[in-house]
Every structure is written in structure tokens, then in C-alpha cells.
């Protein structure tokens, strides 16, 4: 099976890789490069592709643009609000689903539905759930004497509402990945641990958690990247606005506004590039931590 590396085998490999590579280059790498270049346009004619001057003005603009700061702050709050909670919750549910409960398949389907449903449809339902007067959530809360919360119209509650929606929506995917990870842990480790007198809790911390770490690691990277790119949920949940008083403005929403609504193509590119760098650095950091902490 093993072949010597040669020009022929390399070419052959390239041929196999070509379809994916071409798609990757055309739709990912090329845009990344052009958007980087565009972020340096400071004087340009967008439609005719004429650039008169390059520079860092757009980045300087971002540096002092309050809206961009707001977007960054909101994005970080969103990521911090969503990722740990989503991972904890989905791991917990996956652990429950991994035991021999009745209707296991049914529950798995239920939890996976949000992932395969369109964001817009989900958001419309959640807009109803979050409705101050007619919403399900406030109705439930009223049983406990909680007075109606303006989930979607109070700037203080808009971000928590968005986070709740995002956690709920991401649950299904994470659970499925965690379930796969859990099922990859051979049963005999648990048997051995029981014989070794490990309690349920000790088995979780000594067997499940370390052996699940590659999965947890994967889920956390995917979640972090995904959360940094949040956009659809905002657009749909707040009806095409970034929440009341822009309280749910995130970086991608900011990019969208700058690009499509304000024709600030270069600023949008610069913002996109800042986001790219943030995600990139965070991912490197995660990989670095992962190398130390993840057991394969």
C-alpha cells in the first residue's frame, strides 16, 4: 500500500485534492486575501476596482468607532454567554441520553430538530415565546410571580434573549457530537472503574471527562468560531435590526451594516479582518491548550 513519494504520486494526490482545493481557494482563500487587501483601501472606486491609496485608515477608524467597540464587546459577551453554557448543558443532556432511558431515540430527534430547522423559522417562534404580553416565557414566569420581562425590547434583556436562543439552537448539534464521543468510550473502562471502586462522579471525572476531551475540544472550537460569527439569529430575532438601541450589535452584524447598508466596503473588510484575526488567535490558543490538556 505504501508508495514512495515521487512526482507521480504527488501529482496523483493533487488530482484527488483538486476539487476540494479549488473550491477552498475560490470561495475561502481568495476572498480572505481580497478582503485583506480591501481593508487597506483608503481611497478607491469600488465598482471600477480602482484604488488610489492604500493605508491603515480603516483600522484607525475601527479603533475609534464606538459602534465597532460596542460590536466587539457584545460579541465577546455573546461568546462567553453561549459557549460554556452550551457545552455544559449539551454534555449533561448527552450523558442523560447515553444512559438506558426510555424513548432515547425520540429525545435525540427532539434535540436535533433545532439544528436542522431554519434560523428564520426558529427566530419567529422565539419572537413569540419572548413576546412581552403574549409570550410563553413570560406566561411561565408569571406562575412564579415574575412580572413581564421585555425580552426583545429592553436593551438590557436583548442580549440574554439572544444568548438563550443561541444556546438552545446549538444544543442539538453539540449533543449529537457528544453522544458520538461518549459512545466511542469503550464500556470496559467503566466496568474496570467500577471494579476499582470508583463512584459515579469519580467515573465521570476520571474516565468520561478525560476520554471525551478530544470531543469537548472539537465542540468548543466549533462553538467559539460559530459564536463569533453570529448574525442570522440577530437579524431574524430582532426583525432586521441589531436589537433595541443596538444592544445586540455584533461584529458580523456591524460588517453587514457597513458593507450593504452604508457602502463602507473597506471598513467592512477591515472589520472582517479584525474578526478573522481574533478567531484565528483564539483558535491557536485553544489548540495550544488542547495539546496540553487533551488526551487522545
Amino acid at each position: 500500500m505504501m508508495q514512495e513519494k515521487s512526482l507521480a504520486t504527488t501529482l496523483k494526490a493533487l488530482l484527488y485534492l483538486a476539487p476540494a482545493l479549488i473550491i477552498l481557494v475560490v470561495f475561502n482563500i481568495y476572498p480572505i486575501i481580497t478582503s485583506f487587501l480591501m481593508s487597506l483601501y483608503t481611497d478607491y472606486d469600488y465598482y471600477h476596482d480602482i484604488v488610489y491609496r492604500y493605508g491603515f485608515d480603516n483600522f484607525l477608524f475601527l479603533l475609534q468607532d464606538e459602534d465597532f467597540h460596542l460590536a466587539l464587546r457584545n460579541t465577546f459577551i455573546f461568546v462567553l454567554g453561549v459557549v460554556p453554557a452550551s457545552i455544559t448543558l449539551s454534555l449533561f443532556i448527552a450523558l442523560l441520553l447515553n444512559t438506558n432511558i426510555k424513548l432515547r431515540g425520540f429525545f435525540r430527534t427532539i434535540y436535533f430538530i433545532p439544528f436542522v430547522t431554519s434560523v428564520v423559522a426558529i427566530s419567529i417562534v422565539w419572537r413569540w415565546i419572548f413576546h412581552t404580553e403574549y409570550g410563553l416565557l413570560n406566561y411561565f414566569l408569571s406562575w412564579f410571580g415574575v412580572s413581564p420581562i421585555k425580552w426583545l425590547t429592553d436593551p438590557k434583556w436583548a442580549m440574554p434573549s439572544l444568548i438563550i436562543l443561541a444556546i438552545w439552537k446549538g444544543l442539538g448539534y453539540n449533543i449529537v457530537i457528544f453522544l458520538a464521543g461518549l459512545q466511542n468510550i469503550p464500556e470496559h473502562y467503566y466496568l474496570a472503574a467500577r471494579i476499582d471502586r470508583a463512584s459515579r462522579w469519580q467515573r465521570f471525572w476520571n474516565i468520561t471527562w478525560p476520554l471525551l476531551s478530544p470531543t469537548t475540544f472539537f465542540v468548543s472550537i466549533i462553538s467559539v468560531i460559530g459564536s463569533f460569527k453570529v448574525f442570522d439569529e440577530i437579524y431574524a430575532l430582532f426583525d432586521g435590526r441589531p436589537g433595541p438601541v443596538r444592544s445586540a450589535l455584533t461584529v458580523v452584524y456591524y460588517i453587514f451594516e457597513k458593507f450593504y447598508r452604508e457602502q463602507e466596503y473597506a471598513v467592512a473588510s477591515a472589520a472582517a479582518y479584525v474578526l478573522f484575526l481574533i478567531v484565528f488567535i483564539l483558535t491557536l490558543l485553544q489548540l495550544y491548550i488542547g495539546k496540553k490538556r487533551v488526551h487522545y
Binding site: 469503550p186 470496559h188 473502562y189 466496568l191 474496570a192 472503574a193 467500577r194 471494579i195 476499582d196 471502586r197 470508583a198 463512584s199 469519580q202 476520571n206 474516565i207 478525560p210 476520554l211 488526551h295
Partner: protein, 469 residues
């Protein structure tokens, strides 16, 4: 610790994995649970471990019923088939794990881990991860982890099945050594009869969830309680011939798959009486003959031999041989003179042709066809070795089974001049012949019952073979 199983039963839905098991394992004893896959041996082990809860009967540890005791509290150590070493922990952490769970002080943990590592000879590997170890080393770590908390029972679930042949030999000696050093009651699950024979104080042989025989290895080999036990133990496996008793002529007729008689053996009166008492009228039997239990002698073509074979004519003249038919039972062939000597040394005798020969080194394996009409077409020349392991399992194909009933696989001295195509006479001592009922495979009148059983369990398999060679 003494372990008792009382009417132990385990059902998985409609499937009965363990059926009314009764056995007692003594303190410090090494017992093998042996049987083909699916026989319930691993289930029994898991019941002992507490990983399964029995659906009937009871398990007693030192006289106390522990049916509902969780595995955590049974004071057992267990080695899994694939060792189940925690892959993210070092060897040291693996061995220390049970101690950590018991909240043993750190210093004592270290001391006990070191001591255990020394016992299983892996002190130099303590800081490696399991993935960096060979199979045998992993095995030792697994044993160390199982023993470090000083359990009262050690359970081993097919611990050697993942090792190569040479390592398997080494490790089974090691397990025996460690077990005897520690003196712990040990239950050892295996499907390998040779392994079980070599390591155990006693073997519990199971099939379809039921005990077949629970005895010392040699007793089991010498006096299998049924055809299954006889077929399961021994390499190469025991030969089984189908036979029918002929009351009129006081013969045992060897028959083939079409119920047609190939050869007849005259039977002496004492033996005949036993058969008659047990089975009035004509009855079917299986005759078991171990490969080392017969003596093969070349027949010189045309020689005027005195051996009481019934069908020498067709052996001598295969070209004119026809399947023996009932009306062919000639009176003049009945060996009246041999009868009086039953139970002493006069062997039974069968004739046949060498159709296959395989050199082992220590001795040779030959296959003697008792029905040699057209030798070449009946036997392929594939070495029978693959049949060794499976001889007594259901895996054997029907085709092979049929052939087995009309031929004998026998061990002969390495240098004996036997060539393929050579007509031979096969002599079998009556006390080396096992008779089993055709209906349920149960052992009939033990030859040992007739000849006072010889209390010579000492000689090993090899020695026995040499004797007979």
C-alpha cells in the same frame, strides 16, 4: 475466599445465558471457566464481578449471599480481555487508581504500587502510557491493577486471547506464579482448552449455559463425562466413530454417515453384558478414541495375519471392496477367541489405509481411513491442523464431521515407517476407548469402571502419547 454458586441463572430476555449453575470454588483455588464462545462463561464471570445481576439463584462469597452487592463492594480484582487500562493515565496512575479510589494515603499508594510492579516485573515501565507497552506488558499492568487493592477474588476474562502464541505460554506461567504467590482465589475464563488444562486446579466446562463437567484437568481428560467434554479437550481432538451394537453377533459395527457398516468389532462378554444391561436391543453409540490411544501397525500385503479384523479383504483389495452390508455379516468372522480377554490387554482392532501424514516433529500425525474405497476423492490434503481447535465446536462443517466418523486421526512415533496408501491395522486398548450414548452424548460404562481406574494422573499428555507410541 470460598465461592459458591447455587442454581445460578442469568437470562437476557428470552435467552438463558447461564442455566442453574451449581459449583463451589475453594479458597486459593484457580478455576477455569472453559467453553466455546456463547457458552455463558463470561456471563458467569460478570455475575461474579457484579457487573450483571443474576435473574435466579445465588452467589455466595464466604457463605454470604452477595447477589445485590455492587461490584465496588465485592472485594474483587478483575483483568479484562483487552486489559481496559485507562489510556490517559501512566502505568503508575493506572495501578494506583484503585488505591486512590479507596483514599489510601499517598505514601502508602506509592509503596504498594512499587511492590505490585515488582511482583509483576514492570517496575521499569511505571511512567509510560499504556499505548507505549507491548501486549504482555499491558497484561502485567492489568494484573497489577487488579491485585493492588488486595482483593479476595481475582477474575480474569480471557486475559491471554490477545497475545501471540509464545507470549501466551509465558503469561500463563506468570499468572500461575503470581496467583500462587498471592494465594488468591482466581477465576479464569478461557475458550482455549490447552490453556485451561495447563493453568487450572479445576476446570468448569460449560456449554449452552450449563455445566458439562467440573473436575481436575486430568480427570476430565481421562474420563470425560460426555461426548462434548471429550471432543472439547485434547489436541489433536479425540476421534469419534459411530457404532451400532449387534446383539446377535455380539459385535460393535462401525457405521458411516449412511448407516452402512464399514467394519465390525467383536466384543468380549463382560463388556457386552454391560452394554446389554444399559441398552437392551440394538443401540447407537459414539466411540471416542484419543489420537495417542492407538497403535498403528503396517499390514503387509497378502500377509496371513491373525488380527481379528472383519474386513481385511477389502482393505487388502480396495479395488474389489464394496460397502459392507448387513447380509455380509459372516459368522466365521466372529472372534470368539478374543472375548475372554476383554479388560486385560487384548486390543480392539480396526483396519484401514493411511491417507494423510503430517510431521509435527515430536511425533507424526496420520489419518487412517477405515473406509478406504477411493482415498483420493474423500480426503483433501489440507492439513487438519485447523480442525484441531474447532474439532469440538459447532464451527466444524458438516462435511468434515462426516469424514471424521469414518477415519481416525492418530499420533504415531515420528520415525515409524508409514506411508500414504499403506494398509494398516489400528489397535486400541479397550480402557482407552470411550463410549457415549448416541442420544444425549452421555458417557456409557467407563472402561475405567471395568478395569479398576488407574490412579496415574501424573503423566502429562506428552508422556502418555509416548507410551502409546
Amino acid at each position: 475466599m470460598k465461592i459458591e454458586l447455587r442454581d445460578l441463572e442469568m437470562r437476557f430476555g428470552d435467552v438463558v445465558a447461564v442455566h442453574r449453575l451449581n459449583a463451589t470454588f475453594d479458597d486459593g483455588e484457580l478455576v477455569s471457566l472453559l467453553g466455546p464462545s456463547g457458552c455463558g462463561k463470561s456471563t458467569t464471570l460478570f455475575l461474579l464481578a457484579g457487573l450483571y445481576k443474576p435473574t435466579g439463584g445465588a452467589i455466595l462469597f464466604d457463605g454470604k449471599v452477595i447477589n445485590d452487592t455492587e461490584p465496588e463492594h465485592r472485594h474483587i480484582g478483575m483483568v479484562f480481555q483487552n486489559y481496559a487500562l485507562y489510556p490517559h493515565m501512566t502505568v503508575r496512575q493506572n495501578i494506583a487508581f484503585p488505591l486512590r479510589m479507596l483514599k489510601v494515603p499517598k505514601a502508602e499508594q506509592a509503596r504498594r504500587v512499587e511492590a505490585m510492579a515488582e511482583l509483576v516485573k514492570i517496575s521499569h515501565l511505571l511512567d509510560r502510557k499504556p499505548a507505549q507497552l507491548s501486549g504482555g506488558q499491558q497484561q502485567r499492568v492489568a494484573i497489577a491493577r487488579a491485585l493492588v487493592k488486595e482483593p479476595k477474588v481475582l477474575l480474569l476474562d480471557e486475559p491471554l486471547s490477545n497475545l501471540d502464541a509464545r507470549l501466551r505460554l509465558e503469561m500463563r506461567e506468570e499468572i500461575r506464579r503470581i496467583q500462587q504467590e498471592v494465594g488468591i482465589t482466581t477465576i479464569f475464563v478461557t475458550h482455549d482448552q490447552e490453556e485451561a488444562m495447563s493453568i487450572s486446579d479445576r476446570i468448569l466446562l460449560m456449554k449452552d449455559g450449563k455445566i458439562q463437567q467440573f473436575d481436575k484437568p486430568q480427570t476430565m481428560y481421562d474420563a470425560p463425562s460426555n461426548l462434548f467434554v471429550a471432543e472439547f479437550l485434547g489436541t489433536p481432538p479425540i476421534n469419534v466413530l459411530k457404532a451400532r451394537s449387534n446383539a446377535q453377533q455380539k459385535t460393535l459395527e462401525i457405521i458411516d454417515e449412511k448407516q452402512e457398516v464399514i467394519q465390525s468389532m467383536a466384543i468380549s462378554d463382560p463388556f457386552w453384558n454391560i452394554i446389554k444391561e444399559t441398552f437392551p436391543g440394538s443401540a447407537l453409540f459414539s466411540i471416542g478414541i484419543r489420537p495417542e490411544s492407538a497403535h498403528v501397525k503396517p499390514l503387509r500385503s497378502g500377509a496371513n495375519h491373525t488380527v481379528k479384523t472383519h474386513t481385511e479383504s477389502h482393505v487388502l483389495h480396495p479395488s474389489v471392496a464394496v460397502p459392507h452390508q448387513k447380509q455380509d455379516h459372516a459368522h466365521d468372522h466372529i472372534p470368539h477367541d478374543a472375548g475372554s480377554n476383554w479388560g486385560t490387554t487384548v486390543p480392539f482392532s480396526l483396519s484401514g489405509t493411511i491417507v494423510y501424514r503430517e510431521t509435527i516433529g515430536r511425533d507424526s500425525l496420520v489419518r487412517v481411513d477405515l473406509n478406504a474405497r477411493s482415498a483420493d476423492s474423500v480426503y483433501d490434503h489440507a492439513p487438519p491442523s485447523h480442525a484441531h481447535e474447532n474439532a469440538s465446536t459447532k464451527k466444524q462443517t458438516g462435511d468434515q464431521k462426516i469424514r471424521a466418523y469414518t477415519s481416525l486421526r492418530l499420533l504415531v512415533p515420528a520415525h515409524q515407517q508409514l506411508e500414504i496408501g499403506m494398509p494398516v491395522e489400528v489397535e486400541i486398548l479397550p480402557e482407552k476407548m470411550h463410549l457415549f450414548s448416541e442420544t444425549d452424548g452421555a458417557r456409557l460404562s467407563l472402561p475405567l469402571d471395568i478395569n479398576e481406574p488407574q490412579e496415574t494422573h501424573g503423566p502429562s499428555l506428552q508422556e502418555k502419547e509416548v507410551q502409546h507410541g
